[in-house]
């Protein structure tokens, strides 16, 4: 309490902090970046280990034999799919019934807010087929899900084949099971999954039409989604990032890794094989790139596989993807089946939900992870900058006026201060609301008047509102308030409010989705700390625009392509950027992803406040 009560020490500390404010801020920024880059250095990370007792020590012997038969089923499925020109519902129902499952179907339909040009769909109608294998060994209060999407073309036929093969095998070994196992083939990937999950849990968050489910298992404990498009695979990839950057419990990844090691399958995360030379430069950069990919994917808030929607319902889920590249060593479907069998039998042993291990982590490789305690300081260092700047502003605001001015002037000033802060706040938030509402509302009008498709109209309206916002707010307070706002006081108050707003906003974002919070903080914190009305206007304006959320997204698109080793030209990158925006908006309307509203309603208005300060008159 010495610091809080001893005025001399307090004064010393505060004068130190205000005098050295700029150097400390710069130092913190670089420390944050270095800390973040250091996270993927292997000695600083933790080895993954299985925390869940129920899955750790028990022995499982995998015996799945029927890989070839599963592939034959896959071919049959492919043929029927081609014949029907979509999901062969009748065939699937018949086949599942033949394998001894209780089979049900669910119809769903959904009209997208605007056409999805990436997947070429607008009015979506489809059917989910699922079969339940009832648990013979326990009351049917818990369930596991294995799902495979029915994709257009020849994709994922093998996944469905393997799913059916596993269903047959699991049924024949039904003595194992203490949990219901649900085999789900969902149409139209995430939309179908959304319909099924909403039906299963009796919720309707996005206004989709679906027929109620006729059969249910117990509460779902864990789910795996399977994507397999070739008869043999060279490696299996696990995808963890779900909606809004949610991740499944780390034990699920550990389980996958443990079985890959046991069975001898090459396993990857982010499609990148783990390397052992962590002490070399290339090994380190490999780990950094893997982790950066995870950060980018998590920050996007998208669901990167069909599993992503399960996480919202408190169900641990991951997608397992088979990858077939030009490597020599191949793994056949029987081995993949054995791997899945092993995983399900371990999951079957669970006594309670997976909760022992971490929920907040980043993975530079499958065998190592960075926990929340290690990565949060990187964000904390950035947040400290904002607090230091706020303290500096507070000290500047508090010292001069109270002494020399009498009370009346003080009151007047504070009231104009409040007003001059309120106006930009309200205006920038209205702009944000416009950015959120207008693109989808005005698509018809835009299509009528311009030569564009609906999707382009939505994206271009968003960009237009975004740029329009730059011209709008900084002109207004000049007309609204004629008296008193010319002072230095005005912008300081506004900046104090804006800095604190940004700090709280980024803090909350980082708690829910660390990657998004960190990427936004990396670009917005410098903006927040250097902007005053007295810096050179043009140069700062350029810097401010380059560090704005829209450009952050643009850079992220290029960096992401670079990291995936698929660099794009500027032209293609721009097209990709536009499609990413439309996908983000669609994700919000279809699945309830929060990134678009967060950016439009909070981050962008906050950034506009700084823009406003720069042009303070």
């Amino acid at each position: 309490m010495g610091l809080l009560s001893d005025p001399n020490r307090r004064r010393a500390l505060i004068s130190l902090l205000t005098r050295l404010n700029a150097p400390i801020c710069v130092l913190c920024y670089f420390a944050a970046v270095c800390w973040f880059m250091g996270l993927s250095f292997e000695p600083f990370t933790l080895r993954t280990y299985m925390s869940e007792n129920a899955m750790g020590s028990t022995m499982v012997e995998e015996r799945f034999p029927a890989g070839e038969r599963a592939l034959a089923t896959a071919k049959e499925f492919g043929a029927h799919k081609k014949k029907v020109g979509g999901m062969p519902v009748d065939w699937l129902v018949k086949t599942m019934q033949a394998r001894g499952l209780e089979v049900f179907t669910q119809r769903f339909s959904r009209t997208l807010p605007f056409p999805d040009e990436n997947n070429e769909r607008y009015i979506v109608e489809g059917t989910n087929v699922y079969g339940i294998l009832r648990a013979p060994r326990a009351p049917r209060t818990e369930a596991l899900v294995l799902s495979a999407p029915c994709s257009p073309g020849d994709d994922n036929n093998q996944a469905v084949g393997l799913l059916l093969g596993l269903a047959h095998y699991f049924r024949s070994k039904s003595i194992f099971w203490a949990k219901d196992i649900i085999f789900l083939v969902n149409e139209h990937d995430l939309i179908g999954m959304q319909a099924w999950l909403e039906g299963y849990h009796h919720t309707n968050t996005t206004g989709m039409d679906w027929s109620p489910l006729q059969g249910r298992g117990g509460s779902i404990q864990a789910a795996l989604s399977l994507e397999l498009s070739s008869d043999v695979v060279t490696s299996l990839d696990i995808v963890l990032e779900g909606l809004n950057g949610q991740l499944p419990n780390l034990d699920l990844a550990n389980l996958f890794y443990a079985f890959c090691q046991k069975i001898g399958v090459l396993c990857t995360i982010q499609g990148r094989i783990q390397r052992n030379d962590w002490d070399s430069v290339s090994g380190y950069s490999h780990a950094v790139q893997t982790m950066m990919l995870m950060v980018m994917k998590q920050a996007s808030g998208r669901s990167w596989g069909d599993h992503g929607l399960f996480l919202r319902y408190h169900i641990e889920a991951a997608t397992i993807k088979g990858i077939n590249s030009f490597r020599q060593y191949k793994t056949d479907a029987t081995t993949v089946g054995r791997l899945l069998e092993g995983m399900y039998r371990k999951l079957n042993n669970l006594l309670e939900r997976l909760h022992q291990s971490y929920f907040f982590y980043l993975m530079p490789s499958l065998s190592h992870f960075v926990s929340i305690g290690y990565y949060m300081p990187a964000f904390g260092l950035l947040a400290v900058i904002l607090l230091l700047r706020a303290l500096d502003l507070w000290v500047q605001l508090a010292t001069p006026p109270s002494r020399n001015e009498d009370g009346v002037a003080d009151i007047e000033q504070s009231s104009t201060g409040v007003l001059s802060v309120l106006t930009p706040l309200v205006i920038s938030h209205l702009t944000g609301a416009a950015l959120y509402m207008l693109p989808v509302r005005f698509q018809e009008m835009a299509v009528e008047h311009f030569q564009v498709s609906e999707t382009e109209a939505v994206v271009l309206t968003a960009i237009a509102v975004y740029t329009g916002g730059l011209a709008l707010p900084h002109n207004t307070h000049r007309y609204w308030l004629i008296s008193g706002e010319g002072t230095e006081q005005g912008w300081r108050v506004l900046k104090l409010v804006a800095v604190l707003y940004l700090a709280v906003l980024l803090g909350c974002t980082a708690l829910i989705n660390f990657s998004l919070g960190f990427i936004l903080a990396l670009t917005l914190v410098p903006v927040a700390s250097f902007v005053t009305p007295h810096v050179p206007k043009l140069l700062s304006a350029v810097v401010l625009v380059i560090l704005s959320p829209a450009f952050t997204l643009l850079f992220s698109v290029f960096i992401f392509q670079e990291l995936q080793e698929m660099p794009v030209s500027f032209q293609d990158g721009w097209m990709l950027y536009l499609s990413v925006i439309s996908q983000g908006i669609l994700d919000h309307y279809l699945y309830g992803s929060l990134v678009y509203p967060l950016i439009a309603l909070m981050v962008y208005p906050c950034w506009l406040l700084f823009w406003n300060i720069l042009f303070w008159k």
Partner: protein, 432 residues
């Protein structure tokens, strides 16, 4: 001054009415920060349903409000929204009038002192507030109460906390008898306002120029008189409740529920986590320790602040809202509304920046961590409790900071603003 107040009331009512019509109202009514097991509207509805069926509303262990409230809503259930808005409006007007009255008193006292000018050192004149400065304070207080997001949330959630606040506020500016009645009504609602007795008596004594001196008979006579009125009206209320319900069910169900804290639903208070973690056989001991906190500070604070009953009242309200067993944001809004009254202390406040940052951040983090804990399942109760703890520490710092600033101003008023050491150099006050 009536016009701005009316405008304020209209704005406040409009905001509330708009929120009642929006879908947010349902979300807010479910928030644990806004409603407690005692004040939740859902539970009042349940109690009403039981009452209509001719069963005692307390038989279901859901309803814990007092009998008067349930009979009030027995008649007003269709006008619940209006009732809650009206309660807020009445509270705000009461606050407005009370603070106006208090300011008048301060000015009168100050003028009295100005006559004997040699009592204050010359350099203290800048510490003394002019009536002009104080003109807007009542309006600001009403504004702080009505437009505080905490009050709005509490009203929109139809938390009966708003009703409980009303009698606590009406207390200060009335006469002795109504004073006692309203205070007793507040006590009847939630026990804790019992501690407001001390500031209430001090206030009345100050108004009637009765010296606070325990050797004088007039002091004791006044105390006895007041306590008689207070306890008498409390007795009447309790008997009235008994005759309304025809049973004593409500005593354990309301007051037992408040004092023994059986419901450990997370809230912004300090109780739930401790009592959820604790071994059962320590429960009684810690229950006493926790509950005594509310009442413990009354005596020392009353002795220290016996000349400043309104500030004492502010301190007591804050202490109650921090240490009570089921606090909600509505309780916090009540004492925060009084902050503008102490705007002259701002120059002596030390941690106000830090504290307001922490309070702001915590209020935003509550729903975020709740989401992570309950919906996403990725965080756990420790995260939420950490924020609760921080929130309460910040509140305690805020209150103690105001207390320190108040004492320091008093000290300066007597010893001069610019203190000198014996050797003539500038001295600083150190609190140790």
């Amino acid at each position: 001054m009536a016009a701005p107040l009316t405008l304020l009331l209209v704005v406040a009512v409009t905001i509330r009415a708009a929120l009642y019509r929006s879908s947010l109202a349902e979300v807010i009514a479910e928030r644990v920060e806004v409603v407690s097991p005692i004040t939740a509207w859902k539970r009042v509805i349940e109690g009403l349903a039981l009452l209509d069926l001719g069963v005692s509303p307390y038989s279901g262990d859901v309803f814990h409000e007092t009998p008067l409230v349930i009979y009030l809503f027995h008649f007003l259930v269709d006008y619940a929204e209006i009732t809650f808005m009206l309660a807020d409006v009445i509270s705000a007007i009461a606050l407005y009038l009370a603070v106006k009255e208090y300011n008048k008193q301060v000015v009168r006292k100050k003028q009295k002192f100005a006559l004997e000018a040699d009592r204050y050192p010359q350099d203290c004149l800048e510490l003394i507030r002019s009536p002009k400065e104080m003109l807007y304070i009542p309006l600001k207080v009403a504004m702080f109460y009505l437009l505080n997001p905490f009050t709005i949330l509490s009203c929109v959630a139809k938390s009966t906390c708003g009703l409980n606040n009303a009698p606590q506020i009406i207390t200060p500016h009335c006469f002795k008898i109504s004073f006692a009645v309203f205070l007793c009504l507040a006590t009847y609602q939630s026990i804790y306002p019992l501690t407001l007795c001390a500031p209430a008596m001090l206030y009345l004594m100050q108004r009637q120029y009765i010296p606070v001196n325990y050797r004088r008979a007039s002091f004791w006579w006044f105390v006895v008189q007041y306590l008689f009125m207070y306890l008498g009206s409390l007795f009447v209320l309790i008997c009235l409740s008994f005759f309304l319900l025809g049973s004593w069910d409500y005593l354990p169900s309301v007051y037992g529920f408040i004092l023994s804290v059986p419901d450990l639903t997370p809230n912004i208070g300090l109780f739930w986590y401790f009592f959820a973690e604790m071994f059962e056989h320590f429960r009684l001991f810690f229950l006493c320790v926790f509950q005594i906190n509310v009442f413990f500070y009354t005596v020392p604070l009353s002795i220290k602040l016996k000349d400043h009953p309104v500030f004492l009242m502010f301190m007591q309200l804050a202490v109650i809202s921090i240490f009570k067993s089921y606090p909600t944001v509505g309780d916090i809004a009540l004492y925060m509304a009084l902050l503008p009254v102490w705007s002259h202390l701002h120059r002596f406040l030390r941690n106000i920046f830090l504290v307001s940052c922490v309070l702001l951040a915590c209020s935003v983090l509550f729903p975020v961590l709740w989401h992570l804990w309950i919906y996403a399942g990725s965080a756990n109760s420790n995260f939420y409790y950490a924020i609760t703890l921080l929130f309460n520490v910040a509140q305690i710092l805020l209150v103690s900071d105001y207390f320190y600033a108040f004492l320091r101003r008093e000290h300066h008023l007597i010893h001069g603003l610019y203190l000198k050491k014996k050797d003539g150099s500038e001295a600083t006050l150190v609190l140790k």
